[in-house]
């Protein structure tokens, strides 16, 4: 069950979210929106890859579906944008079920590539379909009107609170029966199955949830950018970012992605401020990931916490 400290964390998250919505200026809000939404997406990838053991190269499909779902529903119906943001992940989650039934026939590397190809099929389909704006994309016009006000003022507290809630939720989830089953499958699939875990069902639940979560973050993201293009929404950059953030921070840990995203956005902002180009930023990121993987293959956070524990061990003995 939920513990006191976690309730405190939730309350703190809500208060900070309210403060951020009120006192932070618009430019910083926009940046923070990106940070928290990217964090949610990374955590989703982490849940799928680090806990369920299914490395996917196709998560940008859910980003794209989230963005397009938002524009399609908000533009063509009278449903308000904020309600649409709640509907979209439900629809994407439902779409993920038949997809999962198909791609779960594939294992390991095949799964990763199969997901990537599936994402590419959806991408090419969107580009080919004039009703979806073709390669030009769509502008968010709820009910045919332009958006009013500053959406990031609303998105930021939602994203911030969701990030905190996600960590708390995952902690609670990992203590539950299903969570324990997930950990068991991660550590030893054959033994877990022998102990009565229905692996297929478990993977399906996680796959659907992570798809829906990614779409939710994407719908929020495209509410702040106000338009969506297929090249941006379906680009592999999304899944590359998720992978780098999770792997550098620590795959299969809840704190790892926090470390990862702080590092990635921090370095990006520093390098942009110092006048380096986007290409140079990616070179640094690539080198950083190679370095971390070669010397600390579990990622930065597990290495750090192991180090602290070994220090404690020495101090007590």
């Amino acid at each position: 069950m939920i513990r006191t400290i976690e309730i405190v964390a939730l309350v703190m998250g809500a208060i900070i979210a309210w403060l951020a919505a009120t006192y932070v200026d618009s430019g910083l809000q926009f940046l923070l929106c990106e940070v928290f939404l990217l964090f949610i997406m990374s955590q989703m990838w982490n849940l799928l890859a680090g806990y369920a053991g299914q490395v996917s190269f196709g998560q940008q499909m859910f980003v794209g579906l989230g963005g397009y779902g938002l524009c399609l529903i908000a533009n063509n119906t009278g449903i308000p944008v904020w309600a649409t943001i709640i509907i979209v992940p439900v629809i994407v989650g439902l779409l993920a079920i038949p997809l999962g039934m198909v791609v779960f026939h594939l294992k390991h590397a095949y799964f990763a590539i199969g997901m990537w190809v599936a994402a590419e099929v959806v991408f090419q389909f969107v580009v080919k379909t004039p009703a979806l704006g073709g390669s030009g994309g769509m502008v968010l016009r709820p009910g045919g009107e332009m958006m009013q006000g500053f959406p990031e003022q609303t998105v930021l507290p939602v994203a911030l609170f969701l990030s905190v809630a996600l960590i708390v939720g995952l902690r609670v989830f990992l203590r539950s029966k299903l969570g324990l089953a997930t950990l068991a499958v991660r550590d030893n699939e054959a033994a877990a199955e022998a102990a009565g875990v229905n692996i297929w069902r478990l993977h399906m639940i996680l796959f659907t949830l992570t798809g829906a979560g990614t779409a939710l973050a994407a719908a929020l993201y495209y509410t702040t950018t106000l338009f969506v293009t297929p090249l941006d929404a379906f680009q592999a950059k999304w899944v590359v970012l998720m992978m780098f953030i999770v792997v550098v921070g620590g795959l299969g840990t809840l704190t790892g992605p926090v470390v990862g995203i702080a590092l990635f956005i921090g370095i990006r902002e520093l390098m942009t401020a110092a006048g380096y180009s986007g290409g140079q930023y990616w070179i640094v990121m690539g080198l950083l990931s190679i370095g971390v993987l070669l010397f600390l293959p579990q990622g930065l956070w597990p290495a750090f916490s192991n180090y602290v524990q070994s220090l404690r061990g020495k101090a007590s003995s």
Binding site: A49, V55, V102, V103, H105, L106, K107, H108, A109, Y110, A112, I113, G114, W116, V117, A118, E120, V121, Q124, F125, V127, K128, A236, V240, M243, F244, V247, L251, S277, G279, Q280, W282, I283, M285, G286, L287, S289, I290, L293, L294, P297
Partner: protein
Amino acid sequence: MIGAGLALNYGILKVLQLAHGEYITYGAFAAVGAIVLFPGLPFPIVLLAAFIACALLGAVAQWLIVERAMSYRNEVVAMLVTFGLAVVLRDSLVEVVGADLRGLSVGRLGQANFTIGGLTLGVLPLLSLAIAVASFGLLAFLTFKTRLGRQIRAVSDLPDIAALVGVPVKRIHVIVAALSAGLAAIAGVLLAMRASVSPFSGLDNLLIAFEVVVLGGLGSIRGVLWAGLLLGMTQVVSTWLDSNAGLFYVHLVFFIMLVFRAKTGRLT
């Protein structure tokens, strides 16, 4: 052709080399660069230069980076390392040569064609096919008829035993990586001759390479040839039926085939 190097790499090293698409791009750009520097260079030399340049790149990357990552015996780590490598390679190239499209000028060869029995054939596609078949032939000869090939197959089947009986496993890994990158370079040159290349085309090429390799059966060189033909034909037919098809049907065909084979349990 795009897939051949990748099949070799995955079959022997058991590492998904995600930098493979970048090797293809580098091969194309090496050829473009060589022609810009020495305009009169004959074509076979250009091809050879691209092969050697990429083979060296692949060997160094394997020796310095991938070998180390492989020692963790964790597929995901090795895969992600090569992905980091791909990103570094791509953006370094963009920084150096800019983001422009480049083409490899083949002069009159591009339009040249001849007619046999009412069928008009372009010289360039035939030349590409000839080079591809020759590369496959050489590769098959190398793996099945030489001492090196025997060692490569031994390392592929049972690396621990191969090491026990005195095969220099690490050196074989480096050689395989070099060969695979070199094949990618040849594919890149052929692509650059048909259409222009951009520094960003690596990921697209990588995906097609994956599809060819997976369809052909991992590590099977002959299967790769058939899979390449199938996907190539799909591309031609779908462009003929629907002019803005792009790669939609190619990806769709691959996806359906993949799932079909997984369902019938013929996926090894």
